[in-house]
């Protein structure tokens, strides 16, 4: 059962209902608010004291009209939903994904498969209970994403696999992909799941056996592991232990603000001042608990894993989300360590990418954070996933020195000269760059350590600057331009001659790297080798 057959398909029949979810809730809320006494009477047998709108209708003898109006409204809603469902179709061919939607204002959106920047599957809580998922294909550009909301959960997974397979330039017939374990993707379709743990694909087959079967399937899907164990080799999976996750969220700059607020409250109470400070700060303290809670639930079950079709980042306890970034879609990688995390040796990894999903990432952060918190070991494994070319003993040593070294000569980085201390009094020793296997590394910061990787095949341009101050100090500034994102690859101080060398070597490296770059057709290469 595949949807990527070049034919037009419709979405999950409940999609209009699920998409309009918030309005349904508002309507329910309105009804309950108006009829609450009746509900209380029906459930608990407490007699009502005052009338409600239903009594009013009954007294005025307008029951017939009311029923008619309700029926008309229901029919109109149903017709509109059915129409919008009928008119919302999509097609996945060999070249592109297309979506047609709209009843009065028709829209037709087409995205080329070889331009895909990522495929995201989101399961918000309510649709997830009904076994539906939202699939989003992101391409570069503002508001350029193709959204399929909603699809059956297993269908969405299958569709993503097919889209990524085609996007990778694979020309293999689809039947092989559907029937057997495809060697190119390594993802068996008839998934042999772990015993006692029915995977989504299995349970959907049984779903037809009736309501009981349906419920079992939904429960099975709900309890299934967020990351299908067959999708990725387990040794490539990076997860976050719960304690570390909580620790990392608690040890943030937000906590510093909270602590200051608590101290202020205590001081004001002890010194016996009037309660205005308490009134001002207490709501904030209460709200901060909600903030911590939502951040933690949103990053629970976080996993990042390497699949043959790219890096897969998944997270979420109630609302789950997972995004697959095909190879060669990551434009810059930043590894940072705030000062508070240093005693624990934790790091955060974020990336620049051209496509932007409309959904938030883990912990409510931008979806550009691919590892909210991890140890040095986790960071190296994540870097192996996102920089496949950057593996080897030399590169490992370079990563470690880039993250931990205090700087200075002879650690593989060309660091800034001593006179740069005028501009970077603490971090000049660590400010430097290195070039290794088609990747530029930029090391910065001594209080908050920072290491930036730019794959030269993705580099847009390189610039060096010099103003009057740096001219006096014989220094310059270098900057590698990538697509917009949280990572900026710039070097604030660099020796002037070194800057010219950097400029030449990176400009040449970028051309060489993009000539030899084949990552946008990752599957073609695989087919040759297998």
């Amino acid at each position: 059962m595949t949807l990527a057959d070049g034919e037009w398909h419709r979405l999950h029949p409940a999609s209009p209902l699920l998409r309009g979810g918030i309005f349904i809730f508002a309507l329910l809320g309105f009804l309950i608010a108006n009829l609450r006494e009746r509900v209380v009477e029906m459930v608990f047998g407490i007699p009502r004291e005052s009338g409600d709108p239903l009594d009013e209708i009954y007294q005025r003898g307008a029951v017939g009209w009311a029923l008619l109006a309700t029926a008309v409204v229901l029919v109109v809603i149903l017709v509109v939903f059915a129409l919008s469902w009928r008119m919302h179709t999509f097609r996945v061919g060999d070249e592109s994904v297309e979506v047609r939607s709209g009843v009065l204002f028709r829209s037709h959106r087409q995205a080329r498969l070889d331009r895909i920047q990522g495929v995201n599957i989101v399961r918000p809580l309510i649709p997830r209970l009904f076994g539906a998922a939202k699939l989003e294909v992101s391409v570069a550009g503002q508001d350029a994403n193709v959204q399929l909301a909603y699809l059956g959960s297993a269908l969405a997974d299958g569709l993503r696999r097919d889209i990524l397979h085609a996007a990778g330039g694979a020309r293999a017939p689809r039947q092989t992909a559907a029937a057997t374990a495809d060697p190119a993707t390594g993802m068996p379709v008839a998934s042999g799941s772990l015993p006692g743990e029915p995977s989504a694909a299995d349970t959907v087959g049984q779903a037809r056996t009736g309501l009981g079967g349906y419920a079992t399937a939904r429960v099975g899907e709900f309890l299934a592991p967020e990351l299908d164990p067959d999708a990725a080799p387990p040794e490539s999976v990076v997860r976050i232990p719960l304690l570390r996750l909580i620790g990392s969220i608690v040890l943030s700059s937000f906590t510093v603000v909270v602590v200051i607020a608590i101290v202020a409250v205590i001081v004001s109470v002890v010194s016996g001042s009037t309660g205005w400070l308490l009134v001002a700060i207490f709501p904030f303290l209460l709200a901060s608990f909600g903030y911590y809670f939502s951040r933690i639930t949103k990053s629970l079950r976080f996993s990042i894993a390497g699949t043959p079709d790219g890096v897969r980042v998944g997270f979420g306890l109630l609302t789950t989300s997972n995004e697959t970034l095909p190879p060669g879609r990551i434009h810059a990688i930043g590894v940072t360590q705030p000062l508070l995390w240093r005693p624990f040796g934790w790091w955060q990894v974020s990336i620049n990418k051209a496509g932007h999903s409309t959904n938030d990432g883990a912990a409510g952060q931008a979806a550009t954070t691919i590892l909210p918190v991890g140890t040095l070991d986790d960071v190296t494994r994540v870097l192996e996933l996102v920089l496949p070319a950057f593996t080897g003993a030399d590169q490992h040593a370079l990563i470690e020195r880039g993250l931990l070294s205090r700087g200075g000569e002879g650690d593989g980085f060309s660091s800034a000269p001593r006179r740069a201390a005028w501009l970077r009094p603490f971090s000049w020793r660590r400010t430097g760059y290195a070039l290794s296997s088609g990747t530029a590394l930029i090391r910065r910061g001594v209080v908050a350590r920072n290491l930036v990787f730019v794959p030269l095949a993705r580099l847009q341009s390189v610039a060096i600057h010099q103003g009057p101050v740096r001219r006096r100090l014989r220094l310059a500034t270098a900057r590698l331009h990538t697509v917009t994102g949280p990572v900026t690859a710039s070097l604030g101080v660099i020796d002037v001659a070194e800057a010219a060398r950097l400029f030449d070597s990176i400009a040449a490296g970028a051309i060489a790297a993009s000539d030899s770059d084949t990552s946008h057709h990752w599957n073609r290469e695989l087919e040759v080798t297998t």
Binding site: D114, R115, Q117, A140, G328, R329, H331, A354, A457, R458, L459, Q460, S461, V462, A463, I464, H465, Q466, G467, P468, R471, R472, R474, A476, R479, H481, T482, V483, T484, V496, A497, A499, A500, F503, D504, I506, A507, A510, I511, S514, D515, D517, H520
Partner: protein, 209 residues
């Protein structure tokens, strides 16, 4: 103009070895016609080690010297606006500080106008084998290298003064917002030729993002 464009679009054009040969042909005659002194006026060699420079780089193509006029007219309009604003504040509202600030600003603008020819001379570009090299600035220097394959689009704009002088600005846009390669003050024909050439080069070295 048309003859060397023909050679570029010939059958062998997109291959790489043809490029270095074609490159001087595209830009040199136009520059030489407008600014015979361009070659002798090449980048002033700075004291070793202090100034940012690319010793390996080849010969820079300059923009039209007429572009100085565009910059000067812009500065003068700004100057007039400062004078009017400061004058109004000073004479009508009796704000003496406005006269001082306005005078100081006007002085800065006048001094920068004096440096304008030198600044325009510092703008340069090169069509290398695989990338476009761009430089500008004397006080605040900037060198940028953009591989042709990274081009998303080329923009040609003409302001009123530039149009009167027959000039155009060319902007090379990549997926990075910060690349900002804008070559101002090209003769209109040069700008069109350069645009076609860049599009052709980008086409032959196409890459994804």
């Amino acid at each position: 103009m048309s003859d060397y464009r023909d050679t570029d679009t010939g059958p062998a054009a997109p291959t790489e070895p043809a490029l270095p040969a074609a490159q001087p042909a595209v830009t040199e005659p136009a520059i030489a016609a407008e600014q015979p002194a361009a070659a002798t006026d090449a980048p002033v060699v700075p004291p070793v080690g202090t100034r940012l420079d690319l010793p390996e780089a080849g010969e820079w193509q300059r923009v039209s010297p007429k572009y100085v006029m565009v910059e000067i007219v812009g500065s003068l309009i700004f100057l007039v606006m400062i004078c009017v604003a400061a004058g109004l504040l000073w004479l009508l509202l009796d704000q003496t500080w406005a006269a001082i600030v306005g005078g100081a600003l006007a002085l800065i603008v006048l001094v920068s106008v004096a440096f304008e020819p030198r600044r325009v001379r510092s703008i340069g570009y090169q069509l290398r084998a695989d990338d476009l090299l761009f430089r500008r600035g004397i006080m605040f220097q900037r060198f940028v290298s953009v591989p042709y394959g990274r081009m998303q689009l080329v923009d040609i704009t003409r302001g009123p003064v530039a149009r009167w002088l027959g000039l155009a600005d060319l902007k090379f846009v990549t997926a990075a917002a910060t690349s900002a390669v804008a070559i101002p003050g090209l003769a209109e024909d040069d700008a069109n030729t350069l645009r076609d050439r860049l599009v052709e080069l980008a086409e032959s070295r196409r890459a994804g993002l």
